[in-house]
Amino acid sequence: MSAKERETANVGSGLWKGIGMWAWILFRISGLVLAVYLFVHIWVISQGRVSGAETLDDFFAFFDKPFLVFLDSVLVAAVLYHALNGVRILLMDVGIGIHRHKAVFWVCMLVAALAVWGFAYKAIPLIF
């Protein structure tokens, strides 16, 4: 089989469908969201130096709303999804779980879900 045939065979019947496809799409979306958040985060925290302690504390007071605490938990969930799916990719890179990538995916998602629950447990009193 030529390299070209092998590649299209992969796309048609292997990786680009089912859970692997959704894992990839969500990985990319979460990555882009986190990249945007990163630069907003650097800018917000830098206000402590740019404009002083009062301005930064005003930001924190503004963020102290149930909906924004909820969004903070969504952010934590995005980080943990991206991290644990990333662990699965790193494992596949070193040859672990290639033939059982669905099982490895669900184990990673279980770990992510437990961690998200841990963070949400602390956030829920601030949301409701």
Binding site: G31, L32, I45, S46, D72, K122
Partner: protein, 120 residues
């Protein structure tokens, strides 16, 4: 390793390796960062609260490592998306790479400068 993955037009070997090395650094440092800020100190974040945490050299080093690794990882990720979406031609790619390197160095320098309000 599939050669087409490492071909320059598909990203290159060093960005591929860099993305994985920074991934491992981020997994460790972001868990420290998240547990301290979004778990232990949730609802108590303030200028002074951040200062108390960063008074610890270990936390400061953790956050600086995280800053460098995550800025690289984010911009390299954006580069992968751009390549997938059809950023073709070695000239265009090199120009985009230069923009990303400058943006990354500026972001790390700015972030470090900003954190120093709690250090000095």
């Amino acid at each position: 390793m599939r050669t087409e993955t490492l071909d320059r037009s598909r990203g290159g070997m060093w960005p591929w390796l860099g993305q994985r090395v920074t991934a491992v650094v981020i997994i460790v440092t972001i868990m420290v960062h998240l547990v301290l800020t979004h778990f232990v100190a949730i609802g108590e974040l303030s200028f002074d609260n951040i200062g108390e945490r960063l008074a610890s050299t270990a936390v400061l080093v953790n956050d600086l490592l995280l800053l460098v690794a995550v800025v690289y990882h984010a911009l390299n990720g954006i580069r992968m998306v751009a390549l997938d979406w059809g950023l073709t031609g070695s000239g265009l790619r090199r120009g985009f790479d230069a923009v990303l390197w400058i943006a990354g160095i500026v972001a790390v320098a700015y972030g470090t400068w900003a954190l120093w309000v709690w250090v000095s």
